[in-house]
Amino acid sequence: MRPVVLKTVELTVSFGGLKALNCLDFELCEGQFLGLIGPNGSGKTTFFNALTGIYSPASGNVFLYGEKITGASPNKVYDYGITRTFQRSRLATPLSVLDNLIIGNQRNLNFGLWQNIFDRKRFKAELKKQTEIAEALLSRFSRDLAALLFKPVSSLSMIDRRRVEVCRALISEPKILLLDEPSAGMTPDETRALMDELQDWRKQHPLLATILIEHEMELINKVSDTCVVLNYGEKIAEGRYSDVATKTSVRAAYLGED
């Protein structure tokens, strides 16, 4: 059995009276690819936001390798090795692809005043290293995109933007990757291409645990090891996609039956 990386115990997030997440128990193992599904408003993105410190949970706990990290700030969560993409792309569009990727690699940058402003030789060496890392990472996803390293993100196509967003999340070599509906705004073919590229990366980083929020059931079926289904902030099913999809409670949640 692979060790558990991330665990939540009775995690609850509420907005006013509404419980967006209700007593959620959840486990993620090393190297696991977990699909998080559920109808709109079922609390999937809220779950990501609660994990990454954007919302603070009303009660319950989050554990990373058994260590309690509940309520940690977004900065801290990043330092622990959890990174994410956003449902609506949140890249710094006027900046270059390189700049966006370097932003993702905060943890490995030197912010000393001396090196940044005065010792430009050392800064140049660090820049060179970061550029190489970024280029190598990008070219794994798309060689064409790697050639656009010095172009502003605003000039990229949707799929390239998604790629940059995924690479920004991967460049710091995190332990856990959270993908919030990467297919939004892309064609099924593009989504498939991106997923294949991601699977390729996972082969080389077998410990990386991934949670994927997705509406495309076919995709979930194809890439996920297991699935968790949320409805009204509660977990209503868990298991292999093929098992989960046939459950009546899950069908009811999607089709709105009682």
């Binding site: 907005f15 006013g16 993105t45 936001n49 954007i54 919302y55 956003f86 449902q87």
Partner: protein, 304 residues
């Protein structure tokens, strides 16, 4: 301090507070529908007062009776400013809807500066303070230390009435419903067949009309107006709206009265009158640091 003094401060504070609340309601409305701050609001207020003054000067030549002058000034003053507000929205605010919020702020700030400078340069002798006619009855009653001026009472009631009517308009009419719908969620409102542009323009007209009203009240109360009065009143109105909680009409009223209360308190404590503003603003800045989203607004989380 005896009761008379206390009552005197209370009445003066109320007149001020209602004026501020009128301005703050405008800020709250604009922010509600469009999430923008119209920084020219104070200058629209000032222009409203000057429009009324110009109307008065014209009507005075025709020796119109006072009540009629006052009615015309109020109606035309507010209507012109309502129109100006709608135009500002159509040509400067809405086109910038997709650009960074900072640009909207700057463009309205600069528009305010243009209004201010235009009045200073083009109104006859505009850089000096102008006497504003005393059109309200000047009767007053004395109770001990309290000098209750009838005009104060009228202004408090007019202001309160305007706010109540605005509230009713928003709560009870179809247009009000549209405004609330747009404030809730622009996309859904559009899908439900609400004319977004019309609703926003209407809101801007309404808010700007209220500003003109408060400009005219200020003129009637102090019997003097000047081209730079809008800057301070705008900043105060915005502070009031923010402290109360942007987007909430009750918040605007509470904020307006609170600001007037702080100024009054400052005036009692400090011998130098100018310190009353320093005091009030310091408290406001501290309140903002303490509760950034205001006293009454619900904490809204950003969509991620």
């Amino acid at each position: 301090m005896d009761l008379g003094f206390f009552a005197q401060y209370l009445i003066n504070g109320l007149v001020q507070g209602i004026t501020y609340a009128l301005v703050a309601v405008g800020f709250t409305l604009f922010f509600g529908v469009l999430d923008v701050i119209k920084f020219s609001h104070g200058d629209v207020l000032m222009l409203g007062a000057f429009t009324a003054l110009a109307l008065f000067l014209g009507l005075d030549r025709l020796s119109t009776p006072t009540w009629l002058s006052l009615t015309i000034m109020l109606c035309l003053g507010t209507l012109t400013m309502a129109l100006l507000g709608a135009l500002l929205c159509k040509f400067l605010v809405l086109p910038l809807k997709e650009s960074p919020p900072l640009n909207t702020l700057l463009i309205t700030l600069m528009f305010g500066s243009v209004i201010r400078e235009s009045v200073r340069l083009f109104f006859p002798n505009g850089s000096n303070p102008k006497p504003f006619p005393a059109l309200l009855p000047e009767t007053s009653i004395n109770w001990g230390n309290l000098n209750l001026r009838l005009d104060s009472v009228i202004l408090i009631f007019t202001g309160a009435l305007a706010i109540v009517l605005t509230h009713l308009f928003i709560q009870k009419t179809r247009m009000g419903l549209a405004i609330r719908a747009v404030a809730q969620d622009e996309e859904t409102a559009r899908l439900m067949g609400i004319n977004f542009t019309k609703t926003v323009l209407m809101t801007f007209a309404l808010g700007s009309g209220l500003a003109a009203l408060s400009g005219i009240s200020t003129g009637l109360y102090y019997q003097e107006i000047n081209f730079s009065m809008g800057l301070m009143l705008g900043v105060i109105g915005f502070s009031a709206a923010v402290v109360g909680g942007l987007g909430s009409i009750y918040g605007a009223i509470v904020g307006g009265l609170l600001f007037a209360f702080l100024q009054t308190l400052g005036a009692i404590w400090f011998s130098v009158p100018a310190y009353k503003d320093v005091f009030a603003f310091t408290v406001i800045i501290m309140l903002m640091a303490w509760r950034p989203t205001g006293l009454l607004a619900d904490r809204s989380a950003e969509r991620v």
